[in-house]
């Protein structure tokens, strides 16, 4: 029975399916808030209090209701196949994690609907929101533990960690960083819950919820969720480029250094640049020491994403790329993640005066939409292994282009508006007339376009799930083990355990077979 199943493919499908529903819900709310920002002097659909709550709900749904389950769900479904394993490690933990996550998310969203959440008016519902976030995060930690354990313990014989597919490697890094960062959020939420329920003496009551736990809905926490997306890109690109991944070792390192952002998730390091005219070189040693934490925690992850882009570009240059939906989605997603990570480098410079402005929302949108776009590409790519049928490439390709336009419109105007000091949180108390109106209109159009893209993609995926063209076992001429089993795979994935001799075992086997035929 699907509800009690601990089969990793089923759990992965549940995560990804629910993530798509969460994405639609989050985007609807994001469009609503963006629409209100066009002319906040006279609220059209919301009032001051509910606007803040809808904003919180949109962020919660997009971060924990869409990006996290989509990427984690794909990891749960695909990684054991890539490793040549017959099952996920600790499968009941992963399945239990899904149901806990879903329950917690449901409680948190329900509490916001009933006037709870950050800044909510109903005390009981704020408590319920905090409880929901604790349960939801615990569920994600459980599933992340299962994924990380799988990569560490269930690899096929001969598959060292440096022969593991890049998506499996990025899932390991992403899961470990999640299970190190999320418990800090859980601990903070426990403090907030006890304090809010019983005393309201330490953390500032309702308003303290955002101050103390808001970092989990912002950068650089979103980087951690995006790490598996970068691994997906690195697995999709060589297959679509019909060649082996260039600079494979560099790709492993690039993915690893993005995880350095884990250290900054709680502190959200800001820096004041030593731009002081003539005295620039005075006390240079102290200034460099001040810059080091910022450089390490903010600039280094950017170098990691640039490394992923460089490796992908080199691979495509070496190969004979075919323009297919997985590649288009993956590259567009990667570019927008890069935009978000680069923007955060600027946003974390105190002197730029962007702290607390809408610029941060633009950064968030770029990383979140970028991760979702890559996940769409991954669903096109690995769909055959999830449900045995292909998503129509012809129909999906235009959506890949639309996703890029949607992300650009949804993020860049907010970044520009941030320079005009448009605030991030509250909608009122700021003049939205003049150019601001244009930026907010463009952003609203971007969000609406992303909603349209997501609706279109979900319709295509549903059509493929119900009546799509049968995919065959290896529709993309793959390089790794997931393509060596049937589509969809049987209950225990592989009939035999296999020995792996390289990072691209299936490619090697095909080359050897072609050599014999010749």
């Amino acid at each position: 029975m699907w509800i009690t199943s601990a089969d990793h493919k089923q759990v992965g499908r549940l995560y990804a399916g629910t993530g798509l529903v969460g994405l639609l819900a989050g985007l609807v709310l994001a469009v609503l808030v963006a629409f209100e920002r066009i002319d906040a002097e006279g609220y059209q659909l919301l009032d001051t209090d509910s606007a803040t709550q809808v904003l919180s709900a949109a962020r919660l749904l997009l971060t924990f209701g869409a990006v996290a389950p989509l990427l984690l769900g794909l990891a749960v479904a695909v990684v054991p196949l890539q490793l040549g394993a017959r099952a996920l490690a600790l499968p009941r933990l992963a399945a239990g994690g899904y149901w806990m996550w879903l329950t917690g998310l449901g409680l948190a969203v329900a509490s916001i609907v009933a006037n709870g959440g950050p800044g909510g008016g109903s005390s009981d519902m704020v408590d319920l929101y905090l409880l929901g976030t604790i349960v939801m995060s615990t569920g994600l930690v459980m599933t992340a533990t299962s994924v990380a354990t799988s990569v560490l313990t269930t690899r096929a014989p001969g598959m060292g960690l440096l022969r593991a597919p890049l998506f499996a490697w990025s899932s390991l890094i992403g899961s470990v960083t999640l299970l190190l960062a999320l418990p800090v959020f859980i601990g903070t939420s426990i403090y907030l819950y006890v304090d809010h329920k019983y005393a309201r003496a330490a953390f500032g009551g309702n308003t303290g919820v955002s101050d103390w736990a808001g970092w989990a809905l912002s950068q650089p926490f979103t980087y951690l969720l995006a790490i598996p997306a970068l691994g997906m890109v690195l697995d999709i690109v060589p297959v679509m480029g019909r060649t082996k991944l260039a600079q494979r070792s560099a790709a492993y390192v690039a993915l690893g250094i993005v995880s350095i952002a884990t250290l900054a998730t709680v502190t959200q390091t800001m820096v004041t640049l030593p731009w002081e005219g003539d005295t620039f070189f005075a006390n240079a040693g102290e200034k460099i020491a001040d810059l080091l934490p910022w450089g390490l925690l903010t600039v280094v992850p950017l170098l990691g994403v640039l490394g992923v882009l460089g490796t992908s570009a080199l691979t495509l240059k070496n190969g004979k790329p075919r323009v297919a939906a997985p590649l288009v989605f993956a590259l567009h997603g990667l570019l927008t993640i890069l935009l978000g990570v680069a923007a955060n480098v600027l946003g974390s410079i105190e002197d730029a005066g962007l702290r607390g402005s809408i610029f941060e929302a633009g950064t968030y949108v770029a990383i979140t939409f970028g991760s979702v776009t890559v996940a769409f590409g991954a669903l096109c790519f690995w769909g055959p292994k999830l449900w045995g049928r292909r998503i129509s490439d012809k129909a999906a390709l235009p959506l890949g282009l639309l996703a890029l336009l949607a992300t650009a419109l949804g993020s860049i105007p907010y970044m520009i508006a941030g320079f005009a000091d448009q605030p991030a949180g509250a909608l009122d108390g700021f003049s939205y007339s003049g150019p601001q109106e244009l930026w907010n209109t463009l952003t609203t159009a971007g969000f609406a376009l992303m909603l349209l893209t997501s609706l279109g993609f979900i319709a295509l995926a549903a059509k493929s799930f119900i009546s799509g063209e049968s995919a065959g076992d290896d529709p993309w001429d793959g390089q790794t083990l997931e393509w060596a089993t049937s589509s969809p795979p049987p209950a225990d994935n592989f009939s035999d355990l296999v020995v792996v001799g390289s990072a691209t075992p299936l490619s090697d086997l095909k080359s050897a077979s072609n050599g014999k035929d010749a």
Partner: protein
């Protein structure tokens, strides 16, 4: 379909042990984060004059008396739990069911003793959760620690039932439960030092 060379046998797996190690890492950041917040609040508290200790941070109200004997006994009790859990691993490796059963029982019993000592501290301190910042944070951190200990007792019970029920070759769960108790001892020692000793 192309076929890769079959592997001679399934590779050795330590899934439960590795999973427990990862859970331990997660629990470490959970408690580490909570302790860091505690220390931040204490460092930010205003200064006040204490009759016994001079100028101190106004964090723990002066009227509160911490039952230090019970807190110290919790640390000692957890050290004993570690010895018992390791004894269970030692006996399980030798398929010595009698001693393994005894060791599991003592592990769970000392674990319960530690939880009981925590409940004793809560009742003896007479601190109401709604009295202020120290109070809510005290209950949050010690409550979380107690939940982790209860999870340890359940983990030991599961390991004991599996081993004594006949799965004597699956030693991994037994070692994993011992690893978890080592973590709990280290974690509680940190909580004990920050919350009960430094106050």
């Amino acid at each position: 379909m192309l076929a890769l060379p079959p592997a001679p046998s399934a590779p050795a797996r330590r899934q439960v042990f590795v999973g427990t190690a990862l859970a331990v890492a997660a629990s470490t950041t959970l408690l580490g984060g909570m302790l860091a917040t505690w220390l931040q609040f204490r460092a930010d508290a205003p200064l006040r004059e204490s009759a016994k200790r001079g100028l101190i941070r106004d964090w723990m109200p002066e009227k509160i008396v911490v039952p230090e004997v019970a807190a110290n006994m919790m640390v000692i009790g957890l050290c004993v739990v570690c010895i018992m859990a390791q004894w269970a691993v030692y006996s399980a490796k030798r398929v010595d069911r009698t001693h393994a059963g005894l060791a599991f029982g003592l592990t769970a019993m000392f674990g319960l003793m530690v939880v009981n000592a925590q409940v004793f501290i809560w009742t003896q301190m007479g601190v109401a959760v709604n009295d202020g910042a120290f109070h809510t944070m005290f209950y949050a951190i010690t409550g979380t620690m107690t939940l982790l200990m209860v999870a340890g007792i359940v983990f030991t019970a599961v390991a004991a039932f599996r081993f004594l029920g006949g799965r004597t070759k699956e030693l991994e769960v037994v070692s994993a439960s011992a690893l978890y108790w080592y973590f709990l001892t280290a974690a509680f020692t940190a909580v004990w030092f920050v919350v009960y000793v430094q106050k």
